[in-house]
């Protein structure tokens, strides 16, 4: 709970910070807090990825971009009501929807009684892999992972197409 409160505090910091360097530092903090929260939620694989992606790759990328562009954010010229309206509207729908969700931590909910949990019993006899996250990732839902790899491929080629400098002779 402390973690989550800190997360919220960091988010407010990100909204208010005008220096983009400060934002980068806060993103790193945010990611590590998020990763810690994920460990509490038993998602160790996800936490590891979030820490390396959020605090590692994202930070490097944003820093690289700032190096190539500039670091200060100009204040917005007008205080728009529309963004606030959009955000509050979305929040209202979320509150409405989420308030009907099953209680946190319960074991008898639909999520925890249907497909998800069936993997726990199936993984070792069917694939021989004790880390169920790996077996679901690479086998049961392997096609999603292929799609995910295709996304990385697309982003990689896309960045190259946009940023790679070609030699003049080409």
């Amino acid at each position: 709970m402390v973690l989550l409160t800190l997360l919220a505090a960091v988010t407010i910091g990100i909204i208010r910070a005008r220096s983009l360097f400060a934002v980068v530092v806060l993103i790193g903090a945010y990611s590590f807090l998020m990763a810690s929260a994920m460990i509490v939620l038993d998602a160790v694989d996800v936490a590891m990825t979030e820490a390396s992606v959020g605090a590692g790759i994202s930070t490097v990328l944003v820093l690289g971009t700032l190096y190539l562009t500039k670091v200060h954010e100009a204040p917005p010229r007008y205080t728009a009501l529309l963004p606030l309206f959009v955000a509050i509207g979305t929040g209202a729908v979320l509150v409405y929807g989420i308030s009907g969700l099953p209680e946190f931590g319960a074991a008898h909910t639909p999520v925890n009684t249907h497909v998800g949990m069936s993997y726990m019993d199936r993984s070792v006899p069917e694939t021989g892999i004790p880390n169920v996250v790996t077996s679901v990732l690479a086998s049961y839902r392997g096609f999603d992972t292929l799609g995910e790899t295709a996304v990385i491929f697309t982003a990689g080629i896309g960045v190259l197409m946009l940023l790679k400098r070609f030699k003049a002779k080409d």
């Binding site: 694989d45 971009t65 004790p130 392997g142 790899t149 990385i152 960045v159």
Partner: protein
């Protein structure tokens, strides 16, 4: 850049361990947290560290950008290729059952190859993106 001998020596010492850790994360993914993606990020981090300490040109000599750019599609190709091999065997796409003599070993081989594909694409892409961003600043 002459003053940072300490950095150079230290990073040379560290690099093998970083790569070892990446391999551990890669192969131990069946039993503990980790897998191709995380390992790929660590490998890329090692290359990025090398490039930061020794300079971009030096890094290009060790890991040429042509290799990196080929790795980007190659990993996905390994992944999809495993699926296609299953199809030729008469199974559905990505059904690893008949990669080895029984189902468990088939699955283990399938997962191993697929994770390797992920490793190749992820590390290739991360380094390629880093090169692209870094190369942009020079001119």
């Amino acid at each position: 850049m002459r003053l940072d001998v300490l950095l150079r020596v230290a990073s040379k010492l560290f690099l093998p361990f970083i790569l070892m850790f990446a391999l551990y994360v890669q192969f131990h993914g069946d039993y503990g947290p980790g897998g191709g993606f995380q390992a790929g990020v660590i490998v890329a981090a090692a290359v990025v560290l090398y490039a930061i300490i020794f300079g971009l040109d030096e890094a290009h000599k060790v890991v040429p950008s042509a290799v990196v750019e080929a790795m980007v599609p190659l990993g996905v190709l390994i992944f999809a290729g495993v699926g296609v091999v299953n199809m030729i065997g008469g199974d559905n796409f990505l059904n690893y059952t008949h990669l080895a003599h029984d189902q468990i070993h088939g699955q283990e081989w399938g997962v191993f190859l697929v994770e390797f594909g992920v490793l190749v694409t992820v590390s290739g892409t991360m380094v390629a993106i880093f090169y692209a961003f870094a190369g942009r600043g020079k001119a």
